[in-house]
Amino acid sequence: TQLLEQSPQFLSIQEGENLTVYCNSSSVFSSLQWYRQEPGEGPVLLVTVVTGGEVKKLKRLTFQFGDARKDSSLHITAAQPGDTGLYLCAGAKWPHKLSFGAGTTVTVRA
């Protein structure tokens, strides 16, 4: 069983549309991280959220950490083909454990 459930598993949208990816768990994490992985590469960190209720913005990407620190969402506004990739959420727990969700494959069509 996975500690973190991501939904949807696949998302295909037209350029300019908005999208939201969800990451849910029954566990509490000290922080939640979002990564993006391109084919043939390792995941690269987008953001870390630490405080319950925290909202972080990175240009067109908005990340939210749930009040209870168990879930998170990633919202992309006006998606572009360059946003295509595998988006992974990861929950951090002591000691030194980063557990990943199954990922959401996002395809943005031009």
């Binding site: 996975q2 000290s30 922080s31 991280q33 992985q37 043939g40 590469e41 390792g42 995941p43 690269v44 960190l45 870390t48 630490v50 595998l86 992974l88 990861a90 951090a92 727990k93 002591w94 000691p95 030194h96 454990k97 980063l98 557990s99 990943f100 199954a102 990922g103 494959t105």
Partner: protein, 114 residues
Amino acid sequence: DTAVSQTPKYLVTQMGNDKSIKCEQNLGHDTMYWYKQDSKKFLKIMFSYNNKELIINETVPNRFSPKSPDKAHLNLHINSLELGDSAVYFCASSQDPQVNTEAFFGQGTRLTVV
């Protein structure tokens, strides 16, 4: 300079063989990890080392033996390879003891057991 480098990038081998994957990080991090990514892209932690000491072993078969000669290196040796071991293996590192800091990943090693 590559922050986390692992070799080889591709590895094709027959069942029953023994193989090793090497990983080195030049970030000065204290914590290193091995992850396995299956065909469905699920990234599962295998091992975590902190300052050369094993911290996490996620019920990985004992055919998998990590070795950390120093805190900049974490190698993975696999004995008696099985078909189900085929996957992409990622090495990663992060600053210790801050669990909330970023994990830096290598480019992965695609292992194919035939």
